[in-house]
């Protein structure tokens, strides 16, 4: 089991609120990812990072931001939550090291409901 932690696990909030989903890892992996997944659907990449001070946009990034100030921490912020943001948010890590690369380790996810 990978050491990836996501908080909160469940969150119900009202429209227009600013929220930050936390993701932390203890494996020292350089790559980190945020995905959004609706039930029975594929994972959509929101943001990713190659390391400290590196952030890149994925397919669904326009309404959220991320930061990577420390290797172990990769928070995702929604500036103004909307009902369309209701979904499961998954954080993942990946190592650059040969023999471990190309495999992603996922956290347990945050289930977000926006009323």
């Amino acid at each position: 089991e990978a050491d990836i932690y996501q908080t909160p696990r469940y969150l119900v909030i009202g429209t227009g609120k600013k929220i930050t989903l936390e993701c932390s890892q203890t494996m020292g992996h350089d790559k980190m990812y945020w995905y959004q997944q609706d039930p029975g659907m594929e994972l959509h990449l929101i943001h990713y990072s190659y390391g400290v001070n590196s952030t890149e946009k994925g397919d669904l990034s326009s309404e959220s931001t991320v930061s990577r100030i420390r290797t172990e921490h990769f928070p995702l912020t929604l500036e103004s939550a909307r009902p369309s943001h209701t979904s499961q948010y998954l954080c993942a890590t990946e190592s650059f090291w040969r023999g471990e690369a190309d495999t992603q380790y996922f956290g347990p996810g945050t289930r977000l409901t926006v009323l």
């Binding site: 995905y35 994972l43 994925g58 190309d102 992603q104």
Partner: protein, 112 residues
Amino acid sequence: SQKIEQNSEALNIQEGKTATLTCNYTNYSPAYLQWYRQDPGRGPVFLLLIRENEKEKRKERLKVTFDTTLKQSLFHITASQPADSATYLCALEDGGGFKTIFGAGTRLFVKA
């Protein structure tokens, strides 16, 4: 655009039988393909990775094949058990080595 297709219908099999799941892709030339397991309300868990120069890979009761001509991967679970019931996701490197593209998965039910 890049696309991954997995059977959206659930697969129901009897315990002890072999489950076979299919992953087809278009507009790709991925360097590798992966299979993950996902349980309800949890994050995916990595199972196997197979590279473009490999035809088959095995791990315990799991076997994956990768046919780059057909653009297809088959995932087999032999001697299936009820504990194998889950959703299985196919994932491919996006061709540039920067991102992984995931399929929607196939739900497997193994009946005792």
